[in-house]
């Protein structure tokens, strides 16, 4: 109960138990988990001392799914059951996947909710479930290393991820049994790692070219506040694409048919990646490609030739850079430093081109693979409450505009891109037929004029509108986007004050029921176990609520509450204290709700008084000289 815990200066709150919290970088190619230990944020290695976990999952009929390096060994022998780069499929629809299908050698089957499923030996799995396997692996690593259950995690996402992709990521984390404190944008996480490291102030750009995604963010750093001014990018552009360009070239050289089997394609892709990596240090690299008939092609690739292969791809990242600068209202010269993030920024051409574009030497001192996870760990540590005195704050933006479909398939923007989060916008709708009681609202995300060129997020069915003559009903629909960049919609009929019900049909994603049933299916949630866990959780929550309430009341209950208000709160608290010792988590949950309801006015008063305190000393007069 953080709000209630706002304490007077000098008055310390109860000693805090260290909460286990980690940051997770769920990458296209590799994933990482990091934590703050003894004040230092560092990535956690596995038992063999390896930090990077390949984001690869292998499914088989007999055994449980295998994740990471062990899964990678199946890439050539069992390509259809070895799922890599699943991040590219998160929150995507069947049609998107068909487009991507050319280079993702899997068998797709259409699932419910318009979401594609991957057909494997272990059955059909959704991209969300595949990601959950990776997250579960990292969770186990973290819990073994840190010696306890994780209280919370910060999971990073590309800044340019839309609502569906973010929601899919959060669902995957839930499925892996993780408590998500925050979805954090990757460039923002990197800025935290760099910013805190160097104590820098001013405007910085974060250029983040990962395995499959590209982000550019412009941030202003000021006394611990990281304010994202703008962000732009491409969620389907990254180092994988470089590999593919080199692989195409290799297949051409070696005379391998483009329709070669999946195993052969994987083989060539791995050679291509190795060549790319070698060319970051070498001027030329030798490659040998084996053909189906057992013969081989041997040749070499120079850095110059490699550069001309990938140059269009690097150029493609400059468009978003230009747009981000313009949206931030800043010229390239106004950017003090450029931070390089993501393994693909090791490519010399990328560094050279970015140095030229921003006319600044890019910063590469932190390991570009680890910097995102490290930033996420720092944020997780703070959000978990381990650093009550830290005043770091991250203010992020919505990367893509939210809009509604209007007549003729056009988009009307409701929330513009690069608006600081959280944000909300209300829009009024009316009925166009007499007695109309339902209405459909289509929400899209993107910058284009036509609905078809934007990403469909969801269709909302407004029901229970009181019947009136056409145009008389006024339905106020509120779009709220939270700090994670996730959209929530509520609707109310204004003239009669009826709350209309909304049925949300996500265009690509899982409904809440599907998540619940997956959770039930997963082994970790056996029924009995689940109830015990729920009870424990509610008891902990009850204690937290009561403790915070008591210390708040002691601090300012007398000033902010009259006797009547006080007695209502006290009664609710006493009831909760009693229920807390019961065995039914539902009763405790209910009692917590009663306390929250009784104290809601008090909580608001405390918040307002803290706002007044923040502004205290700044009287209007002081500027009117």
């Amino acid at each position: 109960m953080a709000l209630l815990q706002i304490s007077e200066p000098g008055e310390s709150t109860a000693p805090h138990q260290h909460q286990l919290a980690v940051g997770i970088d769920l990458g296209t190619t590799n994933s990482l988990v990091a934590s703050v230990r003894s004040g230092i944020a560092e990535t956690l290695p596995n038992a063999e001392g390896v930090h990077l976990l390949p984001s690869v999952v292998h499914y088989s009929a007999e055994n449980e799914a295998v994740v990471g390096q062990a899964a990678l060994t199946f890439a050539q022998t069992d390509p259809l059951n070895t799922i890599a780069s699943v991040k590219r499929l998160m929150g995507r629809g069947v049609d998107d996947v068909k487009q991507a299908g050319g280079y993702l050698p899997y068998e797709f089957v259409p699932g419910s909710s318009g979401m594609p499923l991957l057909h494997t030996a272990a059955g059909d799995v959704s991209p969300v479930e595949v990601s959950a396997e990776i997250l579960r692996e990292l969770r186990m690593r973290a819990e073994q290393t840190l010696g306890g259950e994780l209280q919370g995690v910060v999971v990073t996402v590309p800044a340019y991820f839309d609502d569906a992709q973010r929601q899919a990521t959060k669902d995957a984390a839930r499925l892996a049994g993780l408590n998500v404190l925050r979805l954090l944008n990757e460039p923002t996480a990197a800025a935290v790692a760099y910013g805190l490291d160097k104590g820098s102030e001013g405007v910085i750009a974060v250029y983040d070219l990962g395995g499959g995604t590209f982000d550019i963010s412009i941030l202003r750093l000021n006394k611990g506040v990281f304010e994202v001014l703008s962000t732009a990018g491409d969620t389907a552009l990254g180092g994988d694409d470089m590999d593919r360009l080199v692989a195409d070239w290799l297949m051409q050289q070696a005379g391998i048919d483009a329709a070669a089997d999946h195993g052969r394609q994987r083989h060539v892709l791995q050679l291509a990646r190795a060549a790319k990596e070698a060319l970051s240090a070498e001027e030329v690299t030798d490659i040998t490609v084996s053909r189906d008939d057992g013969s081989a092609w041997s040749g070499s690739l120079s850095r110059d030739d490699f550069n001309s292969l990938i140059a269009p791809l690097v150029e493609k990242t400059l468009g978003p850079c230009r747009r981000a600068l313009r949206d931030a209202g800043i010229r390239a010269a106004g950017v003090q430093s450029v931070v390089m993030v993501g393994g693909s920024t090791r490519v010399p051409l990328v560094r050279d081109r970015i140095a030229e574009f921003f006319a600044a030497e890019p910063q590469v001192d932190l390991d570009p693979d680890k910097v995102v996870a490290i930033g996420a760990a720092i944020q997780a540590d703070i959000l978990a409450g381990n650093k009550p005195d830290d005043d770091m704050l991250l203010l992020d933006v919505i990367p893509l505009s939210l809009g509604l479909e209007t007549m003729g398939g056009l988009t009307e923007k409701v929330i513009h891109r690069n608006t600081t989060l959280p944000t909300a916008r209300a829009q009024e709708f009316t009925t166009f037929k007499d007695g109309q009681t339902a209405m459909s609202v289509h929400v899209v995300q993107g910058e284009r004029e036509l609905v078809d060129d934007c990403r469909s997020l969801a269709r909302f069915e407004l029901r229970d509108i009181p019947p009136m003559v056409a145009g008389a009903a006024r339905i106020r629909v509120t779009f709220q986007v939270d700090a994670d960049g996730l959209l929530n919609v509520t609707a109310e009929e204004q003239t009669q004050g009826v709350t209309s019900s909304i049925e949300v049909k996500p265009s690509y994603g899982l409904g809440d029921n599907e998540i619940e049933s997956m959770l039930r299916d997963s082994m970790e949630y056996a029924a009995a176990d689940k109830d015990a866990r729920r009870l424990r959780e509610e008891q902990v929550e009850a204690d937290r609520v009561l403790e915070a309430l008591q210390s708040a009341l002691a601090a300012d209950g007398d000033q902010l509450l009259d006797a009547q208000e006080r007695s209502v709160i006290d009664a609710a608290a006493a009831a909760l204290a009693e229920q807390r010792n019961g065995t039914d988590y539902r009763t405790i949950k209910q009692a917590i709700k009663v306390v929250e309801k009784a104290s809601s006015g008090y909580v608001e008063r405390r918040m307002n008084s803290s706002i007044r305190d923040a502004m205290a000393g700044h009287s209007v007069d002081e500027f009117e000289s």
Partner: protein, 183 residues
Amino acid sequence: MAADLSTTHFELFGLPQSFEVDTEQLDSRYRELQRTVHPDRFANASDLERRISMQQATQINEGYQTLKDPLRRGRYLLELGGYQFDDEHRTTSDAAFLMEQMELRELLSEVREAEDAFAALGKIMDRIDGDAAILVAELQRLFAEAVPGASGQIADALTKMQFFRKLQQEALELEVTLEDEIG
């Protein structure tokens, strides 16, 4: 919604109600306020507190955006003074201004034919930005003079500003479309 947030944006940020805004003050007040209410400060709090925190942070963002942007700030000031905008039927009768708008619009439509479309678009965007800046200076003067009954004049300048905003938006959309096409 909480009591303090029913005050004006100016009061919320402890700033005098004026078109002239000390942006440095505004920025630092904004950071202070968000430090107090932002949902990240309530990551472990109850649902109720998280909801209140989100509402307040949302409102502070809204206030900040309004005060930071000359167009929104100008409109807000007029509305505080009781002026009612009629967005459906508002236009300007300034012929020279409308001519310029048409010219800019024509330039935008010709961008595709330019040898370097992005450079051509960038040039037009810079020109729009420059014109909009001149208009802001004009607004500054009108608000500062505070001639009684000047609301109509100010509203007219704000409408012109709105035209530029629309052009800026269209230019940005064109840029995205062009990028999609080359990609």
